[in-house]
Amino acid sequence: MNRDTRITWINRLLLPLLNILTAFAATAVVFWLIDVNPIEAAQVLIYGAFGYKEGIGYTIYYTTNFIFTGLAVAVAFHAGLFNIGGEGQAYVGGLGAGLVILFLDPTLGAWVFIPASIIGALLFGGLWALIPAYLQAYRGSHIVITTIMFNFLAASLMVYLMVHVLREVGQMTPQSELFPTNAWMPFVHDVAAGFGYSIEASPLNLSVLLALLCAILVWFFLWQTRWGYAIRATGKNGTAAVYGGIKPKRIIIVAMCISGALAGLVSVNELVGYQHRLIMDFHLGYGFGGIAVALMGRNHPVGIIVAALLFGTLYQGGAELAFEMSGISRDIVVVMQGLVILFCGALEYMYRPWLIRSLAPVNKQEVLVGAAA
């Protein structure tokens, strides 16, 4: 293997692997700090996520959310934008889905309701990202700061709407009335029962297929279309993209709207698929989790599905862990997300100089030959 191929291997495989292992090791240190045996904890975790049928349903249900937000963050990343506003976009996306369902005639069939609610979530999530995108593209404000502000604005807006406008009549809890059953995304266990299979009941619903479809569409869009090419070119080298005739302002708008729309789909899984009403704070943590998923999945749909499955596992397994062991809670997943973002994102290149020095050192002979030639 010559030096260049070695460096490619280091960048593509060794470095990401080492980063993830470091994040795992750091999580083990946290377990050790709180006097929990990491191996025992991992066993409980995996049992909770895959050990029984209902657990598997929950795991895939959580995975679905992480696929949506992971894809959302990745699309923006490819355009060189950091969409930190997934939380707000998911929340407002839920408003879109909810409003569509609540205002449509309840006697309509599922064939109208479900596509309409998906479109509502896409539109509202995309719209919530459009404003920061416009401000970045045409007014020069920084996308990171504006999307953070929009997370808070979304929270205030939703509290107001849930408390004053959309609250079910006669109820104290700020939640909307129940969606008509026609508008429910079918549960996987119900669908399976229709085909004669018996599966344990869980919140897992057909949104998971929507998530997989989105992963395929994102892959097709980014790597097989002209727009996808323009997005990736802008993200890799904005100046070169401009010389290539790409208009960066449009790219910002398109990439952010797609990103926000994908984040908005979290609400399809959560509200249309499981809660069946508009509730508060259904989105909490998934927007930020998406950052970890995208970084770990190297911004590629396949990687994102794998990383989302890992975090879905942790989420469900974490609930089991909190149940089985005292003095620990599901927040360990949040710790791990933080560590993944730290080691796979911020400290991405920590090991690089060391790896290159030890595995692909500069060959003095080659350099001399190169200089002579």
Partner: protein, 324 residues
């Protein structure tokens, strides 16, 4: 004394108490961003130090010990941010987000393991908190019209950290605009190459700036859990780090205007609490959420250049690579 005047005084009094941690955190952000390092992690550092202060104060029984450990913890995270973004030139935003998320989980996990109270720390008694100080003659001078109540209600009766927070502002101004360190700090945030050419270490300067920010965030965190409240609760900073960031932008990275922005945002917060459920004749009930959202909305509008322009230090957000 008219009720309106007293209500105003009490609202302003609350404004000072709410603004204090914002001022400290915004000054921390000012040092970081003036040196060219964007610090989204203010929130996380405040939360970590709030947890550290409340834990130590509960165990040791002294708020000062809590404050000390809070500063150490906050500086630790500041150095982690520096290690990732200055030494390894990692993305500054990603690093800040990592710290915020990590701390959000870690405080609960450690709190649960150490105190077994569902992630809370034990409630602090008065000996282990920073209590309000009555300034000399506050009672005796209260009879003087206007000035007396202002002295008694507004100026006197805060804890030491509030006075510290507002005392820090002129110091920050002096350090940033009147000292050699300040000049270098501003230079390294605008044009690190020039600083490097002059034979100064860009890396050292940026680490120093982060360290100062770490100390200030540590005080802010300790204030939240051991002075303003009496224990640590989940996510108790509740976005104050981000509001401080907004105030930093709103005040255009200048200490005095940043402090005014913090006071404005603090006032909106105090107002929102006071207007909860109040019906104003002719207008009706003002939704509290609108007032709560105002700081964020104002910052968005300012950033978009609709009211003035906010121009950050030129090199902020960019890692510096020394040419070989």
């Amino acid at each position: 004394m008219s009720d309106v005047f007293l209500t105003l005084l009490l609202t302003l009094d609350a404004t000072l108490r709410v603004s204090a941690p914002l001022v400290l955190a915004a000054m921390a952000g000012l040092f970081a961003e003036r040196s060219g390092v964007v610090d989204i992690g203010l929130e996380g550092k405040m939360l970590a130090s709030a947890f550290a202060a409340a834990s130590v104060a509960a165990v040791v029984g002294s708020p000062w010990a809590g404050l000390g450990v809070a500063i150490i913890v906050s500086c630790g995270f500041a150095m982690l941010h520096g290690f990732a973004t200055i030494t390894h030139r990692g993305d500054q935003i990603v690093s800040g987000v990592a710290i915020n998320i990590l701390v959000g989980g870690l405080t609960i996990i450690l709190g649960l393991a150490w105190f077994h109270q569902g992630g809370l720390t034990p409630a602090l008694n008065n000996e282990s908190r920073f209590l309000s100080i009555t300034l000399p003659y506050a009672q005796q001078l209260a009879f003087i019209p206007v000035l007396g109540p202002i002295y008694k209600e507004l100026i006197s009766g805060h804890n030491i950290l509030v006075y510290l927070a507002f005392g820090v502002v002129p110091m920050v101004w002096w350090v940033v605009f009147r000292t050699r360190f300040g000049l270098r700090l501003r230079a390294v945030g605008e044009n690190p190459k020039a600083v490097d050419t002059a034979g100064l270490s860009v890396i050292k300067l940026r680490y120093k700036a982060l360290l100062v920010g770490g100390v200030l965030c540590g005080i802010a965190g300790a204030y939240i859990s051991t002075a303003h409240n009496a224990q640590f609760t989940r996510d108790m900073t509740a976005g104050q780090g981000y509001i401080a960031l907004a105030a930093l932008i709103f005040g255009k990275w200048r200490p005095l205007t940043v402090m005014l922005a913090c006071l404005l945002f603090g006032f909106l917060d105090a107002l929102a609490v006071r207007l909860q459920g109040v019906v104003i004749p002719g207008i009706g009930e003002i939704p509290v959420q609108f007032i709560e959202a105002a700081p964020y909305l104002l910052t968005v509008i300012l950033l978009a250049g609709f009211i003035g322009r906010a121009i950050p230090p030129k090199a902020s957000g960019k890692a510096y690579l020394k040419e070989r």
